[in-house]
């Protein structure tokens, strides 16, 4: 069984190398618009089909329906706006129908945008609808408030398909789909993470593997908060897991360069759609998925899937897991009858403190070899 991509089309707006060379020349004559590295990620993800069926930045019709109803204009479920913001002066200079060059801060042309729409929006309304709050303490809301006043919509054509850093871990949906097919996987469970693996993660991954043919470990790579694991450390640790712990023919590690919006339930839908596009039939959503502070209820990111149309991915709604001295293994509240005193949840703060001090994390929380690997790497946390 090969799961259809979202919207039944796998977008590919990556120019072939010979066309990219020509377009690079064309782009030199176009109006340049500098985009930051987070927008570069979105541009590349759109072009590579990660956000299928999006083929560019949203036009007003799609944007407004996504904000209010979590649907694209054609009715396809879509939870988060993907937009390109510009200030009023730039918006006034750009005409609908114009092609503009999207360039990195160093001037490198990334893509061409075929401008189909320009429009304004009401940031408070967007924040309230998408994030459920208008408080700018929420990082996603702050992103909305920090945006310029105008949005440009239109399809993109990707010139720069470079995949650094971590090229060797960066697979497109076309690639993962072929890979899963070659491996003979009919069902695949996607696992999202922003951390090095501990036992509770492993427990959840094993649950996924028990009910599917393959495990797709898909860490989100990119901008992180101080104290988070560095991307390289996460990849090293998971490379060990897929090479040494899980059956080698049943697990795949590949990264997802993506800006976290911390939109909780809406973002959980986005994450599931992205994994569907990679070819996953199942996706793990834990408690507090993609949330921040206490803006969302513990189970909101799981419950939202019961309120939307079936997006074609089976959601594995799992509880937080912990080590239990009574069970002598990792368990969840669904599988363990013991009191809290016997349970040790994997505390990110404790793990970080121990590893920073060069001390191994207790073996019941993190595999000793993972602890040692991280200690040996040295500088593993974002400063």
């Amino acid at each position: 069984m090969s799961l259809e991509p979202h919207g039944n089309i796998l977008i590919n707006r990556v120019l072939k190398p010979e066309d990219a060379i020509k377009m690079t020349e064309v782009a030199k004559g176009l109006r340049p618009l500098v985009i930051d590295e987070e927008l570069v990620k979105d541009v590349k993800n759109i072009a590579r089909g990660v956000y299928s069926p999006l083929s560019g930045f949203m036009v007003k019709e799609d944007f407004e329906r996504v904000v209010s109803e979590m649907k694209l204009a054609d009715g396809t479920v879509w939870p988060i706006p993907f937009v390109l913001d510009v200030n009023e002066e730039t918006a006034n200079e750009i005409s609908i129908g114009e092609q503009i060059a999207l360039v990195e801060e160093n001037g490198n042309p990334v893509a061409v945008l075929n401008v189909r729409d320009k429009y304004i929006y009401e940031d408070g309304h967007v924040a309230k609808q998408v994030f459920g709050t208008i408080e700018d303490d929420h990082p996603g809301v702050k992103m909305i408030y920090d945006m310029e006043d105008y949005l440009l919509g239109g399809d993109i054509e990707l010139i720069d398909n470079s995949k650094e850093p971590f090229n060797e871990y960066n697979l497109d949906p076309l690639e993962t789909r072929l890979l899963f097919k070659e491996k003979g996987w009919e069902t695949v469970v996607g696992f999202q993470t922003r951390n090095a693996p501990h036992r509770a993660h492993e427990y959840i991954q094993r649950i996924g593997l028990e009910v599917t043919d393959g495990l797709f470990i898909n860490p989100v790579i990119g901008k992180k908060k101080t104290g988070d694991f560095q991307d390289g450390a996460i990849l090293k640790a998971y490379t060990y897991m897929v090479n040494e712990i899980f059956p080698r023919d049943r697990s795949v590690l590949s990264i997802l360069p993506l800006k976290m919006r911390y939109a909780g339930p809406r973002e959980a839908i986005l994450h599931a759609i992205i994994r569907k596009n990679f070819g996953c039939t199942h996706f793990i959503v834990g408690r507090d998925h993609a949330g921040v502070a206490d803006y969302y209820g513990t189970y909101e990111a799981q419950e939202i899937f019961d309120t939307i149309e079936d997006i074609g991915v089976t959601i594995l709604k799992l509880e937080h897991s912990f080590h239990c001295k009574g069970c002598e293994t990792v368990a969840t509240s669904k599988t363990c009858a013991h009191d809290n005193e016997l349970r040790t949840p994997p505390s990110g703060t404790v793990i970080r403190k121990l590893l920073q001090a060069g001390e191994p994390v207790p073996a019941e929380i993190m595999r000793p070899e993972i602890s040692q690997l991280l200690i040996d790497l040295g500088d593993i946390f974002v400063k």
């Binding site: 090969s2 259809e4 005409s95 129908g97 189909r116 399809d155 697979l171 690639e175």
Partner: protein, 75 residues
């Protein structure tokens, strides 16, 4: 910017529609918008036909398989 020629009659119709719209301040913007829709639709159709919902040509598939082998994902 390229220029195209339109009949006077067609131009007048377009001018009237553009004037009645809140979104377009000139006929040029209106025409560019319409043509962009046509181009996008054509591209989208071509892409759907070419990709057949996530499949790819034999040549593309071979290149992908080669990359997956080079990266160690496939034997």
């Amino acid at each position: 910017m390229a220029q195209v020629q339109l009949s006077d009659e067609l131009y007048k119709h377009l001018e009237q529609f553009a004037n009645e719209s809140d979104e377009f301040s000139t006929v040029d913007e209106y025409v560019a918008y319409i043509l962009q829709q046509v181009v996008d639709k054509k591209k989208s159709t071509q892409q759907a036909e070419g990709q057949q919902d996530g499949t790819y040509s034999k040549d593309d598939e071979d290149k992908i398989r080669e990359r997956l082998k080079n990266l160690g994902y496939l034997d």
